[in-house]
Amino acid sequence: MTLFTLFFAVAMESNVHPAILLVGPAGGVAFYTFVYLYYRNTNKSHNFEHETAVKVSNMRRHDRKVKELRGVRDASTDHANTHTHRVRVQPLR
């Protein structure tokens, strides 16, 4: 019996979802990434957006409801860029 057929047989018999087999390898990848970044800090930079003194005034807000979503599966706004402040979008003319 090959290893694959063994896995297949176990998967068919079990009530546990086969996706649990991916948890271990994913944990290994996550561990590598976490440790690498902890040592190399290639993802770090000055958080100038929040560490620079800024004063906001004369705030004018526009919030207009345009649509209702009911019973959708998406948990978040399509292509949301809520916190990716450094990724530029279209210039406003």
Binding site: V29, N41, H46, S57, R61, H62, R70, A75, H83, P91
Partner: protein, 442 residues
């Protein structure tokens, strides 16, 4: 979407290609010192043996022990005027354009003995006369970027910096490259004055996009086929506001501005920002006596695109903070603009304790820095990784997890428990937010 028209302004139309170009002309703030290049003597005894005592933040004459400090630059040069009143581009004379082909090796005539002394302004602003041993200093704002408008002296001592570097590397020993561990000598740290531009901005920002307000979530289905569904309202979102940015700190060296992590670790030095630039003082070369320096090599005009990009990022962050009702599902910002009504640019030397480690990769060299903010002590670094060791450890975790999963599957429960269909909202239900309810928004 239509926002109300912005308030009428007296500024000329914006050139979209360069919004900073709306500023009509450059005004200068004179920060030139009332001193000529050459001997800079102790005001009490006339000696040129003057250095910085970091623990006190004071200059000290090594001959008579007299101590003093230069005046606060912000107050001395009137840099503390209201930012919201800034108009046009205001530049300190220490941030003037660098003249092409201006030499970096400056020859001074020693006033003590008449000898000619060469100062290499790439890494210093002082040199000692070989004949009479007096120290000669560069104080004039020669157009090669050497003398800035102000300097922020080191206040963290060398011993404190060494300890911080040891602590930082000590926490990263297990997977550090063996050669790095063997060759690690934090005592080799050097104090470097790095060139930065400190920028104030008087801005008007406008951002627009789409945001969704979460109303409720609920699950439907049986245990094996349970799905989560959401109800939400979609909004056009716009934020139009004034903002002032105080002391944005940006590298004014071309090499240090390159943050490509595949070829350098300049992001490490960038991460230890910000500095308490409000405490910068008038320039005095004696602050740099026991340290090395890198001089500014780019001009205000070259820095404008990068600074504008940072202004836009700050504006986006503030707009997002002002719209918390959309944070759960998120906002898709689609358009943005910053109008720079006024900006002020001051060239400053900032203090960094720097430990460098050269990693050799074939014929190429890669420099890993561990940097310590010479004022706040904030520390950041890059420690080379033993990738084989880390890879094997990760593989072991992956295999162990896989085998554990297999075991769980093999010994999994006999029968699943059937659950009833759930039709109501789950515990994550929240009251819908209506941003129009207060009537004050349009």
């Amino acid at each position: 979407m239509s926002l109300p028209p912005p308030e009428e302004r007296s500024l000329p139309p914006i050139d979209p290609a360069d919004p900073l170009a709306v500023q009509p002309q450059v005004q200068e703030i004179d920060t030139e010192l009332d001193k000529a290049n050459g001997l800079d003597k102790c005001p009490k005894c006339g000696s040129t043996e003057i250095t910085l005592r970091p623990s006190e933040g004071l200059l000290i004459c090594l001959f008579c022990r007299h101590q003093w400090s230069e005046a606060n630059a912000e107050q001395a040069y009137g840099l503390d005027t209201a930012i919201h009143e800034l108009s046009g581009t205001v530049v300190g004379t220490g941030a003037r354009n660098i003249a092409e082909d201006f030499p970096t090796m400056i020859t001074l005539k020693c006033a003590g003995c008449g000898a000619e002394v060469v100062v290499n302004t790439e890494s210093s602003t002082q040199a000692r006369c070989h004949w009479c041993r007096q120290t000669l200093s560069i104080h004039e704002q020669i157009p090669n970027g050497t003398v800035p408008d102000a300097i922020l002296p080191f206040s963290l001592t060398r011993d404190e910096a060494v300890q911080k570097i040891k602590d930082f590397a000590g926490k990263r020993r297990m997977f550090a490259h063996g050669k790095f561990k063997r060759e690690f000598k934090p005592e080799n740290v050097i104090g470097v004055y790095m060139p930065y531009m400190v920028i104030d901005g008087n801005l008007h920002a406008r951002v627009e996009g789409v945001g969704e307000v979460h109303l409720r979530s609920y699950t439907r289905g049986t245990k094996d086929n349970k799905k989560t569904y959401y109800d939400a309202d979609v909004y056009e979102v716009g934020r139009d506001f004034d903002l002032t940015v105080d002391d944005l700190q940006v590298e004014s060296s071309e090499a240090r501005s390159n943050m490509n992590v595949s070829v350098n670790t300049n992001n490490i030095i960038n991460t230890i920002l910000p500095f308490d630039t409000k405490n910068a003082v008038k320039f005095n070369a004696n602050y740099m006596r026991d340290f090395t320096s890198e001089k500014r090599d780019i001009n205000v005009a070259q820095m404008k695109p990068r600074v504008l990009d940072q202004f836009l990022s700050i504006a986006r962050a503030r707009a997002t903070e002002d719209a918390p009702q959309y944070h759960r599902r998120g906002i898709r910002w689609e358009r943005e603009h910053v109008d720079v009504k006024g900006s002020r640019w001051i060239a400053v030397y900032l203090p960094v304790w720097l430990y460098s480690y050269y990693e050799t990769k074939g014929n190429a060299h890669y420099v890993h820095y561990i940097a310590v903010n010479g004022r706040t002590g904030e520390t950041m670094g890059s420690v080379p990784v033993n990738k084989v060791k880390l890879g094997l450890a990760s593989l072991a975790i992956g295999v162990a997890g896989f085998l554990l999963g297999l075991t769980l599957m093999a010994t999994g429960g006999d029968e699943g428990v059937e659950v009833s269909t759930y039709e109501g909202p789950d515990t994550s239900y929240s009251e819908p937010y209506d941003p129009m309810a207060d009537g004050s928004r349009f």
